[in-house]
Symmetry: C2
Subunit: 206 residues, 2 copies
């Protein structure tokens, strides 16, 4: 089965749009999704940006909100921008790194996005993360402790460095097995089509 | 009939994608297109950018080329980035302002884009512009002289100021009669759908 990497930051509004639909869309096309949480902050800093471009360029930021409102309405989703933007997504991303071991990362990711962009919660708060963990059947106490351990921090740092190495400059970004990069929720269909047509024919007959 | 404004800069690669398809798409949906050439340069300067963001942020620029190559291949179009990018588009835009009087702006615009992004020509050169004018049945000598007159320069400056006033920050940008803004070739279908559904019902029954 072909695999498509889905690179996302928990503070990214357009990543929310993709996270809520990628698995159904991928299943329809026989593509497996590899969830890749990372941090946009260090990547933006590398471009000389101290915050989100939506804050640095307010016209672009105002447009983003309206653009996502329209898309969300069309898809029957709720979208609200929480009071703080962008939120500190480092702890959410560390938890998502842990979740990869036992496969709860996708469900946890969707839950965190809904708490942030549907309910207006702050995902940098431990309470919000505990709520998301509980919602996907995981033990908050154990996992919030592990979240603070060095190997987990290192794993997320390595993943963000991998994103830089791959020339990722925004989120969501989709990368196929043959190295094609697609940026933005509006390229999801194209990325899945590419992955399905060209991805790993040998593996699917194994 | 509903009208959709199409704001574009002659140096903009994604505007090329839209210019080549907007009229057929609009006709299918019963929407009229108002072609609005303007200059992105002053708008980028207002954001503190001295050149295209594709040059300021090279990873974004490299991605743009690959993204448009894929889309162009899918649509059966040719795309090559001319050696100079972005090109000085001021004279092409001035001619397009003149063309609005007699209705040859759309054909002229497509011709200039093809010379630039299909053939690799430099649209800041008088020869290229003369070729585009001749291709759409206009007299190069007369029009290249008018292009340098103050009223034409003023008209383009006013149009660019209007773009700033409308909070346009990139190209292509589509604006409906009820003031909805859509940015990017990938929003063209959505913009036309919006315009067709909500645009000027009174006018269409007049």
């Amino acid at each position: 089965m072909a695999t498509l990497e889905f690179w996302y930051d928990f503070a990214s509004t357009y990543s929310y749009l993709s996270a809520m639909r990628i698995e159904d869309f991928a299943k329809d096309r026989g593509v497996e999704v590899a969830w890749k949480p990372f941090l946009l902050g260090p990547i933006f800093q590398g471009q000389g940006w101290t915050t989100s471009p939506f804050n640095l360029f307010p016209k672009r930021g105002n447009y983003m909100v309206r653009d996502i409102e329209r898309i969300a309405a069309y898809r029957g989703m709720t979208f609200r921008l929480a009071p703080v933007f962008p939120q500190n997504s480092v702890n959410a991303a560390r938890l998502a790194m842990i979740g990869a071991e036992k496969g709860w990362t996708p469900a946890f990711t969707r839950e965190v996005y809904l708490l942030q962009f549907r309910d207006g919660a702050d995902i940098s708060e431990t309470d919000t993360l505990a709520k998301a963990l509980a919602a996907v059947g995981q033990d908050p106490e154990t996992l919030l402790a592990r979240m603070r351990e060095q190997p987990v921090k290192d794993a997320l740092r390595a993943q963000t460095e991998k994103a830089m190495f791959l020339n990722i400059f925004g989120a969501p970004t989709f990368i196929t097995e043959d190295g094609e990069m697609f940026w933005g929720d509006d390229r999801l269909e194209q990325a899945l089509g590419w992955a399905a047509a060209r991805g790993a024919p040998a593996a699917s007959s194994a």
